[in-house]
Amino acid sequence: MFKIVKKRILTPVTKLFEVDAALVAKKAQPGQFVVVRVTEKGERIPLTVAATDPGRGTVTIVVQEVGKTSSMLGRLEEGQDLLDFAGPLGKPAPLLDSGHVVVVGGGFGVAPILPIAKALKSRGVKVTGIVGARTKDLLILRDELAESCGEVLVATDDGSLGTKGLVTDVLKKELIDQGVKIDQVIAIGPMVMMRAVAEATRPYNLKTLVSLDPIMVDGTGMCGACRCTVEGKTRFACVDGPIFDAHKVDFDEAVRRGKMYAAEQRVAFDRYKAEVAK
């Protein structure tokens, strides 16, 4: 059992949890994830480590409620326990030692970007952040990100804050088109966003990394549920990734495989919502 020592509501559908998990806290590196189970009959879901505090023995995760499991997790309160919290899994993010890195976070993706930005800054890398959301109120962790970034640029679909448009618009217009020298882009968020970033940087041959989020079961290389195609080769995202070279990822396949259980997920979520409403 892993106790929730702190909870923060970041948006109505995005919650931050600081969890008591001393072993994971000591080990986790930026880019790695944990597998969490909430109830005895529940699914195992992967969530990226957003921060660690080895001294206190805690690990921070940020979860966006998109279906049954993430919603059940989102409703937990301080003092309650997570049944399972296994990790850290996956390869740590490869980090540059110098130069300028642009980190792009969309939705919950801002959380996994944080430790990467922090680590880059501590190595003396210049970091620029770009965050995006539908509207201002859905933007998360901007202050935290600002601590590690020289500058944080914002894009909102409705223009309620920053540039009206997508993160890719900001990336192109405010950085690439201005001739800003960029050594690497790291984008984490919804698959459509990561794909758009990949397409935006491809013409410039600008090295871009994304953190794929395929459906997983064990997270240790045992099942192959998480397989994706990178550079024409099958890779297991949980052990070979989850971070890959965006320009080599077969996004069509990744998107398609992500929808494998769309019908079942709807059944589970609808049943859950009906139960909660009771």
Binding site: L23, D84, P88, D218, A225, R227, R257, V267
Partner: protein, 468 residues
């Protein structure tokens, strides 16, 4: 005197059982067990015992069974076999003890496995007494770590705990049992039995820490730093093999590991009461012909498939599945396509698998394994329709441990290199056994390896204490 046929074991009717996940074999009633025990000749040299990888004293346990003394029979088996309720269900007896049974020379061999199962089930039902080792036990106050809770790890843990060692099992998954819990289905090995065995170990004082991935959560070096004096690696061979043919990542194509893990560990057959889904295919193709393939194809039927079939590039003769599983699969209506090999998967417009192109094969010269090598027949390709595919072509050891443990050497294919008799690896105080060393093998061989390593660990630690 003609030899009486072996006493048959009641099973669920094929038509009913192929739609539920309850155990297929119902087990003997007491009169069946006693009748079967009565067939045993009590041979002087007990040839059966030479066929048992852990040397169960078969003759003596059956002697007790003849008189209906099930407690004595169980204790006898337990002397050498730490998981008899499991082995009685899943061991390939026809290739081990029963193969050498004298009765088999003229008729049907003694049903040793069924009796083992009955004796253990009776013991479990009555409650097994666990005796914790006393203060004077040789291992008192010394810590040993076991990595992985499959049969190899459970056996090593049990033997060491009985000697008084403080044993901790570190398990990557959220539940203990290894393949027994995530791979072998409920209808062949009820999970309650595995849980009971693990509980007995806990009563013996073994600590089980799930959610700890050695190599990631803590390394082997850190385990030593935590005060453990020896480490046993029973990490299995969990890495699935795929075929590497076009279309393999289409939706609806599973590794057997994923298909069975969703089904067994995550209980997808009870979706949506359990949250983890599985594709309930209508036409399910399973590639391969070992136990894993049989378990997958029979699970597919139970998930409601109209048709579930096996595609195998060799013939019935070369199949590695237990005879009983093959027979049960046929009774349940599984179709077998031998000498058939997929070369390509075909998808529909949404990216779901809709069929596979296969090639007919013929058997050629024997290969390195001694089995006839399948050779493709030119221009024999055709398409088989299916909406779900399970690839059951074997597994290899996960490189996670070898890549994070300095000094730990493996063979080219990933198997850990050990000294056969002791399980000693190339790294001091680290031992290994089971599928992690041999590649996919059997429950009983994994247990045997766990036993040998436990003995070696005990001897080495006592030796070290003497020197100190």
């Amino acid at each position: 005197m003609p030899i009486k046929p072996r006493t048959s074991m009641p099973t669920q009717e094929a038509e009913a059982r192929k739609r539920n996940f309850n155990e297929v074999a119902l087990g003997y009633r007491e009169e069946d067990a006693i009748a079967e025990a009565a067939r045993c000749l009590q041979c002087k040299d007990a040839p059966c015992q030479k066929g048992c990888p852990v040397g169960v004293q078969i003759k003596d346990f059956i002697k007790a069974a003849k008189t209906g003394d099930w407690a004595a029979a169980y204790d006898k088996i337990k002397e050498t076999n730490s998981l008899p309720a499991v082995c009685g269900r899943v061991c390939p007896q026809e290739e081990q003890c029963e193969k050498l049974c004298l009765l088999g020379k003229k008729g049907q061999p003694e049903a040793i496995g069924r009796l083992e199962r009955y004796a253990s089930d009776m013991a479990m039902k009555r409650g097994v007494n666990v005796q914790k080792p006393g203060d004077g036990a040789p291992g008192k106050g010394r810590k040993v770590a076991i990595v992985g809770s499959g049969p190899a790890g459970l056996t090593a843990a049990g033997d060491l705990a009985k000697l008084g060692y403080s044993v901790t099992i570190f398990e990557a998954l959220h539940a203990s049992g290894g393949v027994l819990i995530y791979g072998i289905p409920e209808f062949r090995l009820p999970k309650a039995i595995v849980a009971e065995e693990v509980d007995l170990l806990k009563k013996l004082g073994v600590e089980v820490r799930t959610d700890v991935i050695i190599g990631r959560t803590v390394t082997v070096d850190e385990v030593f730093a935590m005060g453990y004096e020896a480490v046993f690696l029973g990490t299995g061979a969990g890495l699935p093999k795929f075929m590497g043919i076009p279309g393999e990542n289409l939706n609806g194509i599973y590794s057997a590991n994923e298909y069975l893990t969703r089904t067994n560990l995550m209980k997808a057959y009870r979706f949506p009461d359990y949250d983890t889904p599985i594709k309930m295919g209508k036409k399910v193709a399973v590639i391969g012909a070992g136990n894993v393939a049989m378990d997958s194809v029979r699970s597919a039927l139970r998930h409601g498939a109209d048709e579930a079939f096996v595609v195998y590039r060799r013939t019935e003769k070369e199949m590695t599945a237990r005879a009983e599983e093959f027979e049960h699969a046929i009774e349940e209506g599984v179709k077998f396509h031998f000498l058939t090999n997929p070369v390509k998967f075909l998808g529909d417009e949404t990216g779901w698998v809709k069929g596979m192109e296969v090639q007919k094969m013929e058997l050629g010269e024997p290969d390195a394994s001694g089995r006839a090598r399948p050779v493709p027949i030119p221009n024999s390709n055709y398409v088989m329709e299916c909406d779900t595919v399970v690839v059951a072509l074997g597994t290899s050891p996960n490189p996670l441990l070898s890549s994070t443990t300095p000094g730990l050497k493996t063979k080219e294919w990933g198997g850990l290199i050990v000294e056969e008799e002791t399980g000693k690896t190339t790294r001091d105080a680290v031992y290994a056994g089971g599928d992690a060393v041999t590649g996919s093998a059997t429950v009983i061989l994994a247990m045997g390896a766990g036993k040998k390593a436990a003995k070696a660990i005990h001897e080495d630690l006592q030796e070290r204490a003497k020197k100190a």
